[in-house]
């Protein structure tokens, strides 16, 4: 038979020195050139990568549903993170407007108030001080409050002289502002120094809760993604039980068998993250109109900032990592159970 001879000669070729082959110690790793091995190794990985993608494409509906679930799970914390980021941007603008009102004692004359204003403006912590006399305050109150006639009936002006202190930006830190307030309070002319900041502190406290909440939600939903990917991979392993058995029978290492499933997790994570990115971007686009209308009402032209490049890359990376870890756990648990025999 011609085939046998060719087969036999192919065998003999490998033992060209004429030594009887049965005495040769066969070392699988020694076959082929090292370069060829490396190329084959890379090709093997590429093949497993594309093969696992092909397997997903064979079941488009169930793959798409799994990816969508992962996408939504990832989109929730991502979207909340973006919203918080935007709130922080808004409040950073407000933080700069933290100011202090010094209500002077009634017996302080306007000239003394003006001297104090000049002195305070000379301080390094302070950018600007505006002097509002009781008359100015009353006029302003009259025009804005609508109590004009009621105010006219007052015998004398009850309003105190006010110095509005605008601290420099670099001193815009709650603790520094607090110590500045205490020093102002200690001034003999000052009746009361009030820092218009409590509401900002409250906002920051609320945002801290929000940030913590997003973190917790992120951890929980990441766990959910791990479970989803893990379960998907577990099912894939069960479906290919027979194939895995055959592979083990003919000498496949655990790493070889694991590979396509890990890539399967990789793809699920990547596509899930891409879906999440899309969902967040679409939501931001939908919210942008109303937000800019709202900010117009506040005399500002603020628009929502979406996911930046860094955040987008982090999202993709997180998705891939969750996919790989989920697959790794599932593979470790389930491949051990499958043994031929």
């Amino acid at each position: 038979m011609r085939g046998v001879e060719r087969f036999a000669s192919a065998r003999r070729d490998r033992h060209g020195d004429g030594a009887p082959r049965r005495q040769e110690k066969r070392r699988p790793a020694a076959r082929g050139s090292l370069k060829g091995k490396g190329a084959a190794y890379v090709a093997g990985h590429m093949q497993a990568l594309l093969h696992s993608l092909g397997r997903m494409a064979q079941r488009p509906l169930s793959s798409a549903m799994t990816v969508a679930v992962i996408g939504i799970a990832l989109a929730l914390p991502t979207g909340l993170h973006v919203i918080l980021q935007n709130l922080q941007g808004v409040s950073a603008g407000w933080e700069n407007t933290a100011q202090m009102s010094l209500f002077l004692k009634q017996d302080v004359p306007q000239e003394a108030a003006e001297r104090l204003r000049a002195r305070l403006e000379g301080m390094t912590e302070i950018a600007e001080v505006v002097h509002i006399s009781p008359q100015q305050a009353l006029d302003e109150f009259r025009t804005t409050s609508g109590f004009g006639t009621a105010l006219d009936s007052l015998q004398e002006n009850p309003l105190p002289t006010v110095l509005v202190v605008q601290p420099r930006l670099e001193f815009n830190d709650p603790r520094l502002l607090q110590s500045l307030r205490e020093r102002m309070q200690a001034l003999p002319e000052v009746d009361m120094a009030q820092l218009d900041m409590e509401w900002i502190e409250r906002l920051f406290a609320i945002m801290e809760i929000g940030r913590r909440g997003v973190l917790i939600l992120g951890v929980l939903l990441s766990l959910a993604v791990l479970l989803i990917v893990g379960n998907t991979i577990r099912l894939a392993i069960q479906n290919r039980r027979e194939e895995i058995e055959v592979q083990k029978l003919i000498g496949a290492t655990d790493a070889f068998i694991r590979r396509p499933f890990l890539y399967n997790g990789f793809w699920h994570g990547l596509f899930g993250a891409m879906t999440a990115w899309l969902l967040v971007s679409i939501s931001m686009a939908l919210l942008n109109g109303p937000v800019s209308r709202l900010s117009l009402l506040y005399d500002s032209s603020r628009t929502l900032s979406g996911l930046g490049i860094a955040a987008s890359l982090s999202l993709l990376l997180a998705g891939i990592l969750l996919g790989l870890v989920g697959a790794w756990v599932a593979v470790g648990r389930n491949l051990r159970e499958i043994e031929p025999g």
């Binding site: 046998v4 084959a40 194939e243 058995e245």
Partner: protein, 225 residues
């Protein structure tokens, strides 16, 4: 090539599948393993391929004691053994070519090398024209030949076959046995578990007979001078 030294195998809660079996199959030999069902033929083959571990005694492969080798080394041991199954164990969602290529893919051969070797193996079993078919499109005999091609494509020094003719008619069975003889002639050690005594008696090879887990006969082939 294979040496058993007082090997026994007990399954949990069952009688001994193998009891005190000793034999030595030399490299380059071809031998049959017979016995009634349940005599321990499959268990013996499983111990060689490390699908099971011996309860006691020593198993040697190629001069190496494999009785207690580590789990991580088992895949590399199995690459030295071509195994043929009664139910073929082919992957039905892959072509004949891909099925035969699997051991080479696992061992990390380059694509050119894989194609060359798969073609040679398929040519050897006479299925070169069916490489693009799927296993279900082939007859039982052809599927078994695909299994043989897959077992030999990696050029292992040892071929194990577990009832390779169990699902084949007498003519195909005889053809299959001659195929094994041809591999044996180019230096491959062959061990075939079979209860087809009629066929075995017509071929002049060493015959091990198992009975209730014990080696009850070891008939050497008749040497023609």
């Amino acid at each position: 090539m294979i040496r058993f030294d007082n090997v026994g195998k007990r399954y949990a809660g069952a009688r001994e599948a193998l009891a005190g079996v000793s034999f030595h199959l030399e490299a380059g030999e071809m031998a049959f393993l017979t016995g009634h069902s349940g005599a321990g033929k499959s268990t013996l083959l499983k111990l060689i391929a490390m699908l099971e571990r011996a309860s006691y005694g020593q198993v040697f492969f190629n001069g190496q004691n494999i009785t207690r080798i580590g789990k991580r080394r088992i895949p590399y041991l199995r690459r030295e053994i071509g195994i043929i199954f009664q139910n073929y164990k082919l992957l039905n969602d892959r072509t004949v070519f891909d099925n035969v290529a699997l051991p080479l893919v696992i061992a990390g051969f380059s694509y050119q090398e894989i194609r060359r070797r798969v073609r040679a193996a398929l040519d050897k079993v006479g299925l070169l024209d069916k490489e693009k078919r799927y296993p279900v499109m082939l007859s039982g005999g052809e599927q078994q030949r695909v299994g043989v091609a897959r077992a030999v494509v990696n050029k292992p020094p040892l071929l194990l076959a577990d009832e390779p003719t169990g699902n084949l008619d007498p003519a195909l069975s005889e053809e299959m046995m001659h195929l094994f003889e041809q591999f044996n002639q180019v230096g491959v050690t062959v061990l075939i578990a079979s209860h087809d005594l009629d066929l075995i008696s017509r071929m002049n090879h060493r015959v091990f007979t198992l009975g209730q887990g014990r080696m009850i006969a070891d008939q050497r082939p008749v040497t023609v001078s």
